[in-house]
Symmetry: C2
Subunit: 166 residues, 2 copies
């Protein structure tokens, strides 16, 4: 079973692919897709759609886990509209590939990673490296956020799988 | 020159295609795309992406005019995220087809239609029918909103065309 985690943005989009086999899990692909600077939003979205589409084609994930970011009211509707635009890139690709889609709040992602004892950004990185067998080099924040949401989904999925088989 | 107007929604999406030849303009296609009820958002977005894609393929518009809806802060971020998701459907198709993209605020659309003397919903419909040679039957509101944003773009485009040639 493979989970694609996505941290949605209209300029930078983080992704991470987890491969799950029974109790074992490893991160097989991760990175940040950077849309060309200074392009209008429709061209950046298309760039991200094609680039994330290549990740989907290469890894054929079964599930998409995507963050539903909390948008503070004072940041205004503009920021929330941009989040929706970026999410749509992942949602359209998931629907096209027949993937299940699961959305998580930042608080759920934080709590899932905290179960491994991580709370600071540096601890999250270290935790991901230990749990998922990632190399010791620092990972870009967008990518580690995407891996964290995939890991959050995995925790939820394992609980519901236990409920299913109980 | 053809303008595709879109009124973005994740359940219902209005569209209208204006064909412009010199001073004359007529509406050659319009309608509302209705995503299947009760489907999760990623499947509704994909339905709308494929359906609006057929409109783009059939009419090959040069410009996309899309409403940038005002999202009242009290309606919260959820509604703004949905607007962004629906916009992304049109934006991705426009980028894929090499169309120019122009976004308009509701106040700009209202003012453009008011230049034809219309302010109530019924007057807007009547105005669109008179100006664009539409049949006298009432048009679904999502479709007439989409035609109105296309007409708004046309007004702006004609002004800038005059500036260009002056």
């Amino acid at each position: 079973m493979r989970v694609l985690g996505v941290d949605p943005g209209t300029q930078h989009m983080g992704y991470g692919v987890l491969e799950v086999a029974g109790p074992s899990v490893r991160c097989v692909a991760w990175g940040t897709l950077d849309a060309p600077r200074g392009q209008p939003v429709h061209q950046r979205l298309r760039f991200l759609y094609l680039a994330l589409g290549q990740v989907v084609d290469a890894w054929r994930p079964d599930h998409l886990a995507i963050e539903e970011p909390f948008v503070a009211p004072e940041r205004g509707a503009k920021s929330a509209v941009a989040v929706g635009q970026a999410q749509a890139v992942g949602l359209l690709l998931a629907a096209g590939a027949g993937m299940e889609v699961h959305r998580y709040l930042p608080s759920q992602v934080k709590s899932a990673v905290a179960d491994y004892g991580a709370s600071t950004k540096a601890q999250v990185q270290r935790t991901l490296q230990l749990v998922l067998g990632l190399p010791p080099e620092p990972i870009a924040e967008d990518a580690s956020d995407a891996i964290a949401v995939a890991l959050c989904h995995l925790a939820h999925w394992r609980v519901t799988a236990k409920v299913r088989t109980a």
